[in-house]
Amino acid sequence: MQNDGTRLRIKSWICATVVVLANVCGNFFMKLGMPAELPTPLAYVAVLFRPQVAFGVSLLVLWMLSRMTLLSWADLSYVLPVTAVGYVLVALAGRILLHESITGRRWTGILLIMAGVALVSVGSAPQTVARKHAPADAAQ
């Protein structure tokens, strides 16, 4: 039987992976489907029916739900740095798929983010404030 700390850590890494991928892919499809300008308030609603934007929004809903799940046991000060690996993936996706440029300065930033993510995800336990079980679980 593994101890509770290891269980929470592995559970956090799996959930954080879903959070990051849903966010990066969601943002990418949003950008892909976004027109050059949104002149009227109605245009903000109309754009949601474009296929790429609709798919992007669904992924961002998945992002929000998986992040809420992660926060049900993990600290905000753990979730923030760990899910920042998404910034690195966004920069790389922008470069590979949208042909946006990555300068030397940007690469330095990417390395710093990776160092911060590694420090917190490996060196810090996900939870410093104990939580109860969710009521839906306790009811069983």
Binding site: L38, Y44, R67, L71, S77, P81, I102, G109, L112, S124
Partner: protein, 120 residues
């Protein structure tokens, strides 16, 4: 205009994520991932004021972000909102009473520096 949008995004995101963390902590650790249990959890969360308020704040942030995306590159839009990391880590310590040890401060600082460099 893009900096005004970033201001709105930062403020609403910070409020949304602190409230989301507060609401989910009150709910408790989700351990059961079967559809029925997820449905019951969703029902409880819909009556959790902090979670509901966080969704409203997140919607404000989302539409401001959409407006920003029409006039800025993705690799500018996403990193420019990094100041939320500093604000939220501070609020995690002060409001949520999390024990933010030196590893987390160091990790958050590296991420903030990194995100600023990526956005320049």
């Amino acid at each position: 205009m893009r900096w005004l949008l970033i201001g709105i995004i930062v403020a609403s995101t910070t409020v949304a994520e602190v409230l989301q963390s507060l609401g989910m902590r009150r709910h408790g650790e989700i351990r059961d991932f079967r559809p029925g249990a997820i449905g019951r959890a969703a029902g409880l969360l819909a009556r959790n004021w902090a979670v509901v308020a966080s969704v409203v704040a997140m919607a404000v942030s989302f539409f401001a972000y959409m407006a920003l995306l029409t006039q800025a590159e993705l690799s500018f839009a996403v990193p420019a909102t990094a100041v939320t990391y500093a604000l939220e880590t501070l609020l995690a310590r002060l409001v949520l009473k999390e024990r933010v040890n030196w590893l987390r401060w160091a990790g958050a600082s590296l991420v903030i520096c990194g995100v600023v460099l990526v956005s320049l």
